[in-house]
Subunit: 146 residues, 2 copies
């Protein structure tokens, strides 16, 4: 047992990493209040930017949302001119979704803006600490892919 007002045993390895992850994620999310795009919208543009064109179903699976939800998000991004829908040549039920040049530009700008706060925070750490976080990021991706 610890002090009177901290009765929870939040000291396990997993709890510590879970709480740290949620806290940093929340902090990063609050930092992007400057731009108007939602997390979900940006995640779609980022996925298209990194992995190339997707069908609607592929995007929905990747982002773990339903097809109607993804459809709404894609509609919004299409209206904004950030992506295009093109019927698939070989299977005309499918729709290929791809970034426009403007979409690519908005990804680059959003990444730049979102990362600037984190870059400043990392700059205050030692080279050893930054290297540790770099390795940790790889492990976190590995764990998340499980």
């Amino acid at each position: 047992m610890s002090s009177p007002h901290t009765p929870a045993d939040t000291t396990t390895e997993a709890s510590s990493l879970r709480m740290a992850t949620f806290r940093l994620a929340r902090r990063l999310r609050s930092q992007r209040a400057v731009d108007t795009m939602s997390d979900g919208q940006f995640a779609v543009l980022a996925a298209l930017n990194v992995h190339g064109a997707h069908t609607l179903g592929e995007l929905a699976d990747r982002e773990r949302v339903t097809a109607p939800s993804m459809n709404r998000t894609v509609n919004c991004l299409e209206e904004s001119g950030y992506l295009t829908r093109t019927p698939d040549e070989t299977d005309r039920r499918k729709v290929n979704i791809a970034l426009t040049d403007e979409g690519r530009a908005v990804v680059a700008e959003t990444v730049r803006r979102r990362d600037s706060w984190l870059e400043q925070a990392l700059a205050e750490l030692s080279p050893q600490q930054r290297d540790l976080l770099r390795q940790a990021a790889d492990l976190m991706r590995e764990v998340a892919a499980r």
Copy 2:
């Protein structure tokens, strides 16, 4: 420039950590699909559990939501019997919000359930890798507190 379908320079230190953090946070969040409580509701119970009683405004500030939003969340948790509202003795405009025994129990149970997936994932890593993540969690908390 890199390969044709990966035009973004998402390879900076900050981008890598940001993406890994969001990805792991999303994975952890999806893993708690078994319980009915939302992230926001659980965060309130966890804050009360760790830091003791709060007023409504303090909870809203801590969770970075508006007072009406927090009010709704607190209403829901009060109906479920997880917390109590008590008018403040010295300033009767304020309301002190505190966990019930049932609230404390549900925090402990939820933490246990949410962490079990992560514990299994961590068990597949080497002791060195787990130690690295332990240190990284401390650094992430430090960065988030900035």
